[in-house]
Symmetry: C2
Subunit: 200 residues, 2 copies
């Protein structure tokens, strides 16, 4: 398969490329590095990326920013960060990708544990992760041409504990290597409309 | 209690006013009618509404628009309707309301069954309803001064079946009168961070 990994230079993305690269052609996309880049907040940038690639069999997205902050200090603009980037950035990867993806292809998005297991300062992440999972469940029943869609919802990464561990006391971390398996199941399996929880 | 019902002239809102009006002071807010109106898409309009009301004990929101359409034809702007109106409109009612609500007060938002049980043309509703529930679960753990927050997630209304029934074949409708009980439980009970599913 020809698989696009948007965010393939990040912690999860690199593990996904390692897992799937053994048996598939991988096109790694990042925001800043390499020949192909994308700004997922910008629909025109997404269109340009897909036009440069041509047809493909799967898109994996492991990207998306949200603003973390104390709820009582959060503003409409703080929530807009996550809605435009992690949520609509990934949704627009699907909407635009549908014009280029091969029959029977798949989309795999990334949400996260905070949708159901909140932490302090995480209201935007909880909102956005839940929204991604809601979109995936619904989009799956409207996909044309046998195209599938799933999301991977990991708990906190072991690799992130040094930076974010103080916000996740009591959460059992999971390695990016284990998280990568869920993307393999999504792309190489046959399920659709699934939220793959990893590590919880 | 002094209870603000945003959307109090709608189908659910009227039932909520009937249920809670027997034992509380109700301030009914709509988009168009009455002395007090609000455009929930506009933070300044929300601020103006709260300043006109002064302090209060509870906010119930039964409002919010989303765009329904075939997923493959949906655009970024179509999704923006629901994100700005039903999602951030209700979230901004909370963020701004926190500046005026009494200690021990409560917020009750409205999501809906499509978060988990999708229909054709409903990807935006599924996304937005799930996002509201995710926000509520998370906001609950950061609320100051004993303030609570819950959402009510009803299935399709019996009163809406004439208009929308064709999209909801096989769904068992629920009357607005039954849905109103969940708002009573949220406001008059002591729970927080709950998603009250009604009729499913």
């Amino acid at each position: 398969m020809k698989i696009i990994v948007v965010g393939g230079t990040g912690t999860i993305g690199k593990a996904v490329v390692r897992e799937l690269g053994e048996r598939h052609q991988i096109i790694t996309i990042s925001h800043h590095h390499g020949n192909l880049t994308v700004d997922i907040k910008d629909v025109a940038s997404i269109q340009k990326m897909y036009e440069a690639i041509g047809s493909f069999d799967a898109v994996i997205s492991t990207v998306g920013k949200v603003h973390f902050g104390k709820m009582v200090d959060m503003t409409d603009s703080d929530y807009a960060v996550g809605l435009h980037d992690k949520l609509m950035g990934q949704v627009n990867l699907v909407l635009q990708g549908l014009k280029h993806i091969n029959e029977g292809g798949s989309f795999t998005l990334t949400s996260g544990i905070l949708s159901h297991d909140p932490i302090r300062y995480g209201t935007s992440a909880s909102m956005v992760n839940a929204a991604i999972d809601g979109f995936v469940r619904s989009a799956a029943i409207e996909m044309p041409k046998g195209i599938r869609i799933n999301s991977v919802s990991p708990t906190v990464l072991a690799e992130s504990m040094e930076s974010y561990g103080d916000y996740f006391h009591g959460f059992e971390p999971v390695t990016a290597e284990r998280v990568a398996l869920a993307y393999s199941k999504s792309v190489e399996g046959a399920q659709t409309g699934q939220i793959y929880k990893v590590g919880y």
